[in-house]
Symmetry: C2
Subunit: 245 residues, 2 copies
DNA sequence: TGCCTTTAACTGGCCTGACCAATAAGCTGA
DNA sequence: TCAGCTTATTGGTCAGGCCAGTTAAAGGCA
């Protein structure tokens, strides 16, 4: 109730779409009609329809009307509350297969690109305050080599979710700095398998890499829990000391 | 250029966010200032900011201002133009592994649920005009059994994309009606592997199922191309007849 | 002097009413 | 019957205004 009017109206419209009142392809009432029906002004109606348009639910055609593009059913969750472990596990499952698919049809140019990225990853790891852009590019390049847009976007999405989970990013950073050397070797192994055009080897190398990431992530989680427990013990101890002074 | 003004403005604002001009947490200029700066009216500015808000880029706080929530980098593609083949291939890669993971930890309750869904799928296939809701529920139930939110959401997302590609849905429908019987057997095989808690068998059964879907999809594609070619020949022939008639 | 309250200058939320441009349906005339 | 014109309808945008929530500066009190 305390929502802004246009949000309230947008929600109502989504509900009506979901109820099947307006099938795909049908036209919504004119803005002036909606304004009258819901007791709001036309600018408010426009704001609500724009919200629906951005979500890809409707299409607004000048001089014609606003039409239903798709129903809000099955709308995928935003997925901002996935744990780092789950994300990496999903990548472990998915990117291994993607690597195998990529190995079957990768071009020389793509291999050269990935080779350069592995070198860049080595450089990144040297730098203590370095980013993981090359690492990102590495995994995306493999996704691109699958020649499958759905695979590519899924890899991209999983990485994206990781970057939008503060906890995940923190743990990853922690885990990454812990073992610099192996990470490069793991990437090199993937590259070598791709160069051999060996799907099974590529799958194995990627599984090995991501299971290592998973392991170091679990290690970081443990370490963090231990640190938190120690801090708690310390706090209790000092409180006890003060009390018993 | 031919974009609507608010879309144009929204794009410009996104560009400025991407350029780092406004870091996360900072405040954008007031609506009245933006209107003046870009030579548009305030309602237009409001429409643009609402578009950004729906995309999760900014947060609008009444009486305070609009603040940057996240940068538009790494924004995942909307993915509305993925072909049916690519989607199914991605599912083939991903859901097989998900089934293996699920087999390792599925509960008796979940097995019973999936069992009921397989029966429901059989019923759906009897009905010529039936939906594929049970099929959908089947795959989601396996995703849930992985105890991994990221895996679940990815499966959900791939299915969702399928339903939003008109071409994909059509081909699927075509492919589905072509081979009713095998589909039930394939689902039953997956169920049996899950019941045995056998990851390798579950992976194999799911791979078998989705590769069958992939095959029938290719068949439908061929058939459609043939039909289109025939229609084209027919059209040319009749035109020739009229011309020479 | 320093803290707290008050107040006034913002900011977004929403409205009225209007004009323009693109569309599409209806009309008209051939 | 159909092409071309007319006109009602629809979204696109603007101007200007009032209200309500927020914030920080100004002022009062201790």
């Amino acid at each position: 109730m305390s929502e802004r009017l246009y949000q309230d109206l947008a929600r109502k419209l989504v509900d009506e779409l979901a109820s099947g009142q307006y099938p795909v392809g049908s036209r919504l009432p004119a803005e002036r009609e909606l304004a009258l029906a819901y007791g709001v002004s036309r600018p408010t109606v426009r704001e609500a329809t724009i919200a629906l348009e951005v979500r890809g639910l409707v299409e607004v055609r000048l001089g014609s009307g606003t039409y239903v593009v798709r129903l809000p059913d099955h709308e995928p969750a935003t997925g901002f509350d996935v744990s780092a472990f789950e994300l990496t596990e999903a990548r472990f499952l998915f990117e291994s297969e993607a690597a195998a698919l990529a190995a079957a049809q990768i071009t020389d140019e793509e291999i050269a690109e990935i080779e350069a990225l592995v070198a860049e990853i080595a450089r990144e790891n040297q730098d203590p305050g370095g980013t993981d852009k090359a690492d990102h590019a590495f995994h995306l390049a493999i996704g691109r080599a699958t020649r499958n847009q759905a695979v590519y976007e899924t890899i991209e999405r999983l990485w994206y979710l990781r970057h939008n989970s503060p906890e995940a990013a923190l743990l990853h950073e922690k885990a990454r700095t812990a073992n610099v050397k192996p990470v490069v070797d793991e990437h090199t192994a993937v590259l070598e398998a791709l160069r051999q055009r060996d799907p099974a080897a590529a799958r194995a190398a990627m599984r090995n890499h991501l299971s290592a990431v998973l392991e170091s992530l679990l290690f970081a989680t443990e370490e963090r829990a231990l640190k938190a427990a120690r801090a708690e013990v310390q706090a209790k101890r000092s409180r006890y000391m003060r009390a018993t002074g």
